[in-house]
């Protein structure tokens, strides 16, 4: 039976009718219409569906939408500033050519953002370990790691959050 729930996504509150079994990724993509979040394996293995809940990266394909009431959800669309300026991690991915097919990119960027929120100057090892739950099928990890490292430097210089 469907019930109406309120979801806070990127600081906007959306009222959506959901069935208890509806997964967060499907609600974000199909009911809210934010298609930046990707659905890859659907089993919590690939990281493409990563979103931030209360600032921490989680897998929206194995999260019930109904369990997310009262929480703050951030998707890739929520990283752009109101002025239209991209988040330093997004800009760095463009500058470093860290996007190939692009399917892993939203999840990769959100995981990287949370990593840099914790410490803006991670070592290369820490970056690799940090993104090990996000699989890039194009295997373009080298540029991704470089982009995250460079974004960390921008963030620590500018003090951006």
């Amino acid at each position: 039976m469907k019930q109406l729930i309120a979801l806070n996504i990127n600081d906007n509150v959306y009222e959506v009718p959901v069935d208890p079994r509806d997964l967060l990724v499907d609600v974000i993509r199909k009911k809210v219409g934010l298609t930046g979040t990707k659905k890859g394996c659907g089993l919590g293995d690939c990281g493409a569906c990563t979103v931030l809940i209360d600032g921490s990266p989680v897998l929206s394909c194995i999260t019930l939408a109904i369990a997310c009431q009262g929480k703050k959800i951030t998707t890739i669309e929520g990283l752009v500033e109101n002025s239209g300026r991209l988040h330093p991690v997004q800009q760095s991915f463009i500058d470093h050519g860290a996007v190939q097919c692009g399917f892993c990119t939203p999840g990769m960027i959100l995981t990287a953002k949370a990593l840099l929120d914790r410490s803006s100057r991670p070592t290369l090892e820490e970056i690799k370990r940090g993104i090990s739950g996000n699989i890039c099928r194009c295997t373009g990890y080298k540029k991704i790691v470089e982009a995250i490292s460079a974004a960390g430097e921008t963030i620590s210089q500018e003090g951006v959050k």
Binding site: R21, I53, S56, I62, L64, A67, A114, N134
Partner: protein, 293 residues
């Protein structure tokens, strides 16, 4: 890959959870992190009629440490919180290591320590060090609470001692003995998002001479249907001075005790060899660490 239809409850207190569980019994499943449960439901292995979401129950969450007494960890505590806890790192290093080795960043933000034991996968990360550290679990139901050593809680592959209407609420870790140290390690195909081919934890206590082994516990994961507590290794090492020869003997003994199967992740023969390698490594590491305490 749709889930079956179910009714969802999000109780706000432990009492409400027990009440719901008392009424619904085995028709209900606990939803904590969901990283195992929802995948099993997608695979149609499980089709519960009710899900009771315990993620928001404050009484089931958090890490409390009292010097001299030990630590109490709520069953719904996230693996990430355990990984980043300064007190767990200082006092229960083997658990800190296992928490950091579980899944990926995302999985650690979702999964809970209680779920990792209740799921009772033979390859689970945290039960191995928890058993080595002497953890007890607290099981609650409408009729009260009971305590059980974790090694008596996990009974078999996917089987626990949970009775109808019962829920695991917390883990109790004893205060580490003086001159003791625990270490954890594993072998798998890759570091993240893998299922361990073998994992192991060693917790050892030294005598005042910093050389004689007073007591130790070696626990193996993924080589038996449940965490396998070595009987032979403590028998060989307790009361004796630490030496290369003894470590070698002990590692062969552990290997002999393991009863692994061959599956897609590793052959039984390989696992048996890896047990000896990990046992040797961990005995040296834990011995060196215990001398520093």
């Amino acid at each position: 890959m749709f889930l079956n239809h179910f009714n969802y409850f999000a109780p706000q207190s432990a009492a409400e959870v027990l009440d719901l569980l008392g009424r619904l019994g085995s028709r209900a499943k606990m939803l904590a992190g969901g990283t195992d449960l929802l995948v099993l439901m997608k695979d149609k292995v499980l089709a519960p009629e009710y899900l009771i979401d315990i993620a928001n129950i404050a009484e089931f969450k958090g890490i409390a440490y009292e010097p001299g007494k030990g630590a109490v960890i709520g069953a719904a505590t996230k693996i990430a919180e355990i990984e980043h806890s300064a007190i767990i790192r200082e006092k229960y290093f083997a658990l800190h290591q296992a928490a950091g080795a579980l899944g990926s960043v995302q999985i650690r933000n979702m999964a809970t320590i209680g779920g990792n034991s209740c799921n009772a996968s033979p390859a689970a990360e945290t039960p191995t060090p928890l058993v080595a550290l002497g953890a007890e679990v607290v099981l609650a139901s409408l009729t009260g609470e009971r305590k059980l050593p974790l090694e008596q809680f996990i009974l078999d592959n996917r089987k626990t001692a949970l009775a109808e209407g019962e829920i695991l609420t917390k883990f109790i870790l004893p205060e580490p003995a003086p001159r003791s140290a625990g270490r954890y390690s594993y072998i798998g195909l890759r570091d993240a998002m893998e299922i361990d081919a073998v994992n192991m934890a060693v917790n050892l206590v030294l005598e005042e001479d910093d050389l004689t082994l007073k007591d130790l516990k070696l626990v193996m994961g993924s080589v038996a249907p449940r965490p396998l507590v070595s009987v032979e290794v403590p028998g060989l090492l307790s009361g004796r001075e630490f030496s290369d020869t003894l470590v070698h003997e002990a590692s062969r003994a552990a290997s002999g005790e393991a009863t692994p199967i061959s599956d897609i992740r590793a052959s039984a023969e390989y696992r048996q060899e890896v047990v000896a390698v990990l046992a040797r490594r961990l005995l040296y590491e834990a011995f060196a660490a215990a001398k520093e305490v």
